[in-house]
């Protein structure tokens, strides 16, 4: 009964969605308040029904109802409860249901918190949002129904892919989807603005909090995916430039550009058309990401199952929304009013610089990701584009971007003085130069480029602090005044500094991996292997039994200078239900550095192959993303976003909607 209810709730959500996609927009055209108001209630109800549907599937998973095909394929009665719960979205159908759940959640939130939006804009935004929702409801109902029953219920399920039986599945996909789908709001706002033919600074202020929230989730979502891959796949790498990873990086780059250009639009009423385009692109790239991951074009851990019908359906959604949006943009954008003027050297100029480099970097990732697919489609030649390509293209574009980062917030709006700013950044530059020198002294000439990376990271960190120090008058004014000024600073200023500091932390962590050390050895019991000042002694093998797996672990005692500091137990788990096994790496954290140990095969002579890494400062890579998210949160709590935008000036209200 429960699966049928879930199925039915989803159909009802579709029916509501179809109403919401048409009626309020007709209302907005004829200025009919009653029709427009309908959007708020349908948006909330859509969320309720999708949530019911999702809850139904969750219940099927938690109660191990194997009469549902989807549960049979992806669950097992012996699995721990947390994995039964998370396996709801650890498969194609369920993950699409999570997708629409989040989509409808955002719709309901706009309905709930969008009280200060003009009525026509709100109606149009919710209308567009509902088109997207309907497309995906149809996709689920027609090609990926999670509620299909099996004629005869099997006694036991086929179990979840062991790689996914991890706490990462509880965190990474929901956060990533919150980010992906969150950009749909910016997209809907952009389309609504194009339909109304009107856009102003207030629009940017309404879009910004949604974009910011989506960006925060996406940032941490990507980082958590990266950490998960790092400890689960056993290769010790944190980013593989895998097409699926790139698919999430592209919306992040476009979204980051959007955040910055929306600032220009809000404060200076400039870059309007560009901001609209970015809003469309950010979500389009999210859709492309969904297509790449879900259509089976690529094979990876993320591809749960491939079915050509699904690929074609998502491709149709893609063409319809991206093509439609860009056509509307090409037709309507030239009619929008021109924005304000600014000199090339100014805060606006710096933000344009940021946008230019971010979008170009995004473009290179796009080319690197899609070129192999295009080449194969046209010439049948198979190639792989990997890290070397991206190191040669993406990195050179990111370096100037990072270097310019501290300058931006210190430049004045409209007309800036780059020499004055450089002067104020003297201390930060000094910090960077000292860092370069110190790194060369400590690390020698093992890498010529890496010390400059460290210097750059420190320069950006110090630059972020300089910005705060300048604004609060630290070191110039009495401490009491500084404290007062600090309290008076807008939260968004704090947010900028914190987020910039965060990306510098990530950069620092990445650069430090130049000095990571790796050893691959075969060890017998009681033998010791040394790495980066640590000695690891292999004590022997231990057997464990988990709820649905058997585990063979190798016990290692870690010593530093002869003193035991911890025990590491990397293991191999074998899952009888699927006849498959996973390698579980062991991690030992020292400060923000880690020792990483993963097992290979055991040999006939009783020795076991191990792969051992020392990863200096590696945790900074992911901690940086958390700091970026905190920065986003600070900015989101800014007063001007909380109290909402002022009513648009009467001048623009008088413009005809056409």
């Amino acid at each position: 009964m429960i699966p049928e209810l879930g199925h039915y709730a989803l159909v009802l959500a579709l029916a509501l969605g179809l109403i919401q996609a048409t009626v309020p927009m007709i209302g907005a055209r004829g200025r009919d308040a009653a029709l427009m108001r309908l959007a708020s209630s349908t948006a909330s109800m859509q969320f309720v029904f999708v949530a019911l549907s999702f809850a139904a599937l969750t219940i099927c998973y938690v109660t191990s109802d194997f009469s549902v095909a989807n549960v049979y394929e992806n669950s097992h009665s012996q699995m721990p409860l947390i994995y039964k719960f998370t396996s709801t979205w650890g498969n194609h159908e369920g993950s699409m249901l999570l997708w629409v759940l989040i989509l409808s959640l955002f719709g309901a939130m706009v309905a709930q918190f969008g009280g200060n939006l003009p009525e026509t804009l709100k109606a149009n935004v919710l209308g567009v949002q509902s088109w997207i929702a309907c497309a995906f409801y149809l996709f689920i109902l027609l090609t990926s129904n999670p509620f299909l029953r099996l004629a005869q219920a099997p006694l036991e399920g086929r179990d979840l892919n062991p790689i996914l039986q991890d706490i990462g599945l509880a965190i990474h996909p929901p956060l990533l989807y919150l980010g992906y789908v969150g950009f749909s709001i910016a997209f809907s706002f952009a389309i609504a603005a194009l339909i109304e033919g009107r856009i102003d600074a207030a629009w940017a202020r309404w879009v910004r909090p949604w974009t910011l929230a989506a960006w925060m989730c996406l940032t941490v979502g990507i980082a958590m995916g990266s950490y998960w891959a790092y400890y689960e796949l056993g290769w010790g790498g944190f980013w593989f430039w895998d097409p699926v990873e790139n698919a999430s990086l592209m919306p992040w780059l476009a979204g980051t550009a959007l955040l910055h250009s929306a600032v220009v639009m809000e404060k200076r009423n400039a870059l309007k058309i560009w901001t609209l385009l970015l809003a469309i692109l950010a979500f389009s790239l999210s859709l492309i990401g969904t297509f790449l991951v879900r259509s089976g074009v690529l094979t990876s851990v993320h591809t749960f199952a491939s079915d050509p019908a699904r690929g074609v359906f998502i491709l149709m959604i893609l063409v319809l929304f991206i093509g439609g949006a860009l056509t509307l943009f090409a037709w309507r954008a030239p009619m929008l009013k021109q924005g304000g003027l600014f000199a090339p050297i100014s805060r606006e100029g710096a933000l344009v610089f940021n946008n230019l480099f971010l979008t170009t970097a995004c473009l290179t990732v796009f080319v690197g990701t899609l070129y192999p697919l295009a080449l194969e489609a046209f010439t049948n030649e198979k190639i792989s584009v990997g890290a070397p390509f991206f190191n040669l293209t993406f990195a050179p574009l990111f370096i100037p971007l990072m270097f310019a980062m501290p300058f931006g917030p210190l430049l004045a709006w409209k007309r800036g003085d780059v020499l004055g700013v450089a002067q104020r950044l003297m201390a930060a530059m000094g910090a960077g130069l000292i860092a370069i020198a110190v790194t060369f002294v400590l690390m020698g000439m093992s890498s010529v480029l890496a010390p400059f990376g460290i210097g750059l990271a420190l320069f950006v960190m110090a630059g972020a602090l300089t910005d705060l120090a300048e604004r609060t008058g630290l070191f110039r004014l009495p401490l009491a005044t500084v404290r007062m000024r600090a309290a008076g600073l807008p939260r968004s200023t704090w947010g900028t500094a914190v987020a910039h500091f965060g990306i510098a932390m990530t950069l620092f962590g990445i650069v430090c991996q130049t000095w990571a050390s790796e050893r691959i050895v075969a060890l017998k019991a009681t033998q010791t292997v040394a790495i980066a000042g640590y000695d690891l002694t292999f004590d022997g093998m231990v057997q464990h039994t988990g709820p649905n797996f058997r585990e063979l672990a190798a016990k290692f005692t870690v010593r530093s200078g002869g003193v035991p500091i911890g025990i590491m137990e990397p293991s191999k788990r074998s899952f009888a239900s699927r006849g498959s096994s996973t390698t579980e790496a062991a991690l030992l954290t020292r400060g923000v550095s880690q020792l990483y140990l993963s097992l290979g095969d055991s040999n006939d002579d009783g020795s076991i192959a191990v792969r051992l890494y020392h990863k200096p400062m590696v945790l900074l890579i992911w901690l940086g993303s958390v700091v970026m998210m905190l920065g986003g949160g600070l900015s989101l709590s800014d007063r001007r976003l909380r109290i909402g935008a002022p009513k648009p000036a009467t001048k623009s209200a008088l413009q005809p909607a056409e």
Binding site: H92, K382, S384, G386, P388, A522, A609
Partner: protein, 152 residues
């Protein structure tokens, strides 16, 4: 500065950055991409030794040998031709005889493929797509035995 001049500066600098990016992309595409070959491709085309490439197929049963210090040797086959592969290191969990594999590395002078990366399937239900295509070419793949786990 007039609006026109400002716009020219903006467009000029955008084109400049794009041109740099295009140059980077083109040079990187020339130097850093890796072509995929089946054992038959290698047997027929005789690619120059030292070129980076990927080779994929099935690990030929009975050819897997393990040596000292994590050396392994095995043959990759697509049913028509074989190629010997040498690798030092730890192979993925699902690497075994008779299973699909993709190796990345270079041919040495003697026609042996020296791999520095070995990829196997992520899951027992999947087969690397390149391998499927390579096997299809030699007719060793029947659509029926589709291991790409299809949810009903």
């Amino acid at each position: 500065m007039t609006r026109k001049q400002r716009r020219l500066i903006l467009i000029g600098s955008s084109l400049g950055v794009l041109a740099i990016a295009a140059a980077l992309v083109l040079s990187a595409l020339r130097d850093s991409i890796v072509f995929f070959n089946s054992p038959t491709d290698i047997a027929e085309k005789h690619p120059a030794a030292g070129t980076r490439m990927r080779v994929g197929g099935l690990v030929k049963p009975g050819t897997l040998q393990r040596g000292e210090s994590l050396q392994i040797r095995f043959d990759v086959t697509d049913g028509k031709s074989d190629i010997a592969v040498r690798y030092q290191g730890i192979v993925p969990d699902l690497f075994r005889e008779g299973q699909g594999v993709v190796a990345e590395g270079k041919l040495d002078g003697g026609g042996i493929f020296i791999a520095d990366t070995v990829l196997a399937k992520h899951d027992e239900r999947y087969m690397p797509r390149e391998v499927v295509d390579a096997l299809k070419k030699t007719g060793r793949w029947q659509e029926g035995e589709d291991t790409v786990g299809k949810a009903k």
